[in-house]
Symmetry: C2
Subunit: 102 residues, 2 copies
């Protein structure tokens, strides 16, 4: 029984963190995720642009899901928003589906 001694707080934290996550499989979804987190932090595109040394117009294209956006731009934006990327096998279980189990 691996979880017998597990702190319920830890598991709760993991589950809560999952609810904050954004899954992305397309450039559009990546852009939408960036936008969501940026707004959550009350930053304008210009604000984020300054943090990452890019133009407001560049942030705009990134959030629009421009497929030819460069990886550098994406990673700089993530850093500017204090975010990170996770690469993982595709799951059918969405956050909503998991909630339904409880």
């Amino acid at each position: 029984m691996i979880f017998a001694n597990a702190h319920i707080d830890v598991i709760y934290a993991v589950a809560y963190r999952d609810l904050m996550d954004t899954i992305a499989r397309t450039p559009q979804q990546v852009g939408a995720g960036i936008r969501r987190f940026r707004r959550q932090k009350k930053l304008t595109q210009r604000d984020l642009g300054e943090k990452m040394h890019a133009r407001q117009a560049t942030v705009s294209k990134l959030e629009a899901g421009e497929p030819a956006t460069q990886l550098r731009i994406l990673m700089d934006a993530l850093a500017g928003l204090d975010l990170e990327l996770v690469i993982r096998p595709r799951t059918k279980l969405t956050a909503e589906a998991i909630e339904d189990l409880f």
Copy 2:
């Protein structure tokens, strides 16, 4: 008590999935993650390239962490490997640190 009725199998699956995840904050880490999953699936760069309609050389640059790689290439590679991206707030807790809790 939110987790009173939770299927332990589900929680175990979530924890196990986390161990398979790759965290990336730089183009290099993204490339390394792609490479790790590609090898795990016993595919060559050429194999992956064919799946995503890209050249072997393009896959090579992606895995090398070329910062100017286009987002389209990354997402196509993820799809070809049946992977997905997660955008989330940066965590200090690495997979190893979490293991230490158990």
